[in-house]
Amino acid sequence: MEEGSFGILLDVRIAEKTGAKFFIGLCSATLAMVGIAAGWAKPQNSSASPTQGAQSTNSAASSAAGTPQTSSGAESSAMRRAGLNMVVLDPAHGGTDLGARGTEGIRESEVVLQFAAAVRKALEAQGFQVVMTRDGNENPSFDDRSGRANAQRGAVFITLHVGSTGLAGTARVYVTPEVPPLTTDTTGMIPWDRAQGPFVVLSHRLGDLVQMELAKRFKGSPDAVQAAPVRQLRTTAAPAIAVEISSVSVKDRAQLDRMVPGVAEAIVHGVAAFRPSYVIPSLPGSGGGIQP
């Protein structure tokens, strides 16, 4: 994580809580780059593949093809070290919010913690840095959870749910369908409540990859990602997906337990497949996207 970026975002989050709009944008990115250039940043993950290591402000196509861009100076050096390194995992609900509840006493808030722990372990084994929005029985607000991802650069956000309905033993991935167009200002900032806007395309790509992996492992799961206005995703300024597993209505908790390794594996494979095509989308006034 780039400290420069984090400082700006923290300040802005405080502003948001007092009623002001929360903006994420070019100023934080620029400051982050300056911070990295000045040697403030932590070393990036050493397990990144060669294609992940290269980053420039040019087109996404050359990045997806794995062509490192030639650039000079501290800025390009800093950007080479950026890219997808971090996964923010969000076990939904918690605390007094139990989420979905099954007739056999299965609680969504508890089950998702078990899934998250397995996904975390699998991701870390593949060299990803993982940040959890909660480790225990807490219930951070939607904005606090999004804030964990918004304070990072080069992260993806995955919120884990267990629904009340759906064919038992299946899993579905959801992404935000659309976000109203951004304001036309050229400040390079986007409002907090539309933070997902510039990332919708990336979220769809990530969602499709994860859903494809889930469909391979869990018969009856859809083949493609579905769109739904999930509240948690809207305020997240990163490629963001919601994974919903069916369901708390199973008669035996062991049915869900058996899904844990498969879900973890599917998410890791999906995120790894998404990694080379990860592009930080251009924001108004930023003059182009940042790509690995």
Partner: protein, 224 residues
């Protein structure tokens, strides 16, 4: 005080205590009963204040398309055609249709909305924005989850789209308030797009009218 008076006084007090002990349980029962009668939720009180809409038996019966859950395809909606006496006024029409949707299909498995949920009010603005105000049961009784909440909202939006072309977008309120989510997942802070087709006639400016939640149209829909 003479011993005789002491006996009389002691006996009297004892009799009072015994009488009070006998009467107390009955009194407590009466107090509890009275408390139950006066203990009404705000929603119940509001329902009582809402005037009961007159029966619309004089309206022509028209075929409408209701979107309930599919019993053959998991997580999908299926259109079911039913005949209802419907008003030509878009607000009344929308209320009648939503009440039918809430009443549910014949097959309870195809239900998308909780049976105890009620439509408290429905407004239609001239720009095609509809505001539907549901009782708290919509959020508290619905099975929690992205899929189930999405199906509920989709069934409302698609049913309105099919039958009330004046509705362009929909805002859902719970008991008169904007809420973050329906039941922990689906975002209710924003509008749901209902109909993108241009409307021939301008939408009627609706007076803030409410419907009687108890008055639900009887439904006996058959699957298409």
């Amino acid at each position: 005080m003479s011993p005789k008076w002491r006996v009389w006084l002691g006996g009297g007090l004892l009799a009072l205590v015994i009488a009070a002990a006998l009467y107390f349980p009955a009194l407590r029962q009466q107090v509890d009963k009275a408390a139950q009668l006066t203990e009404k939720t705000a929603e119940q009180a509001r329902r009582e204040l809402v005037p009961i809409a007159p029966a619309r038996s004089g309206e022509p019966r028209v075929k409408v398309k209701m979107f309930w859950g599919s019993t053959s395809t998991e997580g999908a909606l299926t259109p079911v055609t039913v005949e209802l006496p419907l008003s030509s006024d878009p607000v009344l029409r929308a209320k009648e249709i939503l009440n039918t949707l809430l009443a549910g299909p014949v097959d309870p498995d195809a239900r998308t909305l909780p049976p105890d949920a009620a439509l408290l009010a429905f407004y239609l603005l001239p720009d095609g924005t509809a505001v539907a105000d549901f009782s708290e049961a919509l959020g508290t009784s619905i099975p929690s989850g992205i899929q189930s909440e999405q199906l509920a909202v989709d069934s409302i939006a698609r049913t309105l789209e099919a039958n009330v072309p004046q509705v362009q977008r929909l805002k859902i309120l719970i008991h008169g308030q904007e809420v973050d989510t329906l039941a922990g997942h689906l975002d209710l802070t924003q509008m749901f797009r209902v109909n993108t087709r241009p409307v021939a006639a301008p939408a009627a400016i609706a007076a803030p009218a409410a419907v009687a939640p108890t008055q639900k149209s009887p439904t006996a829909p058959g699957k298409k």
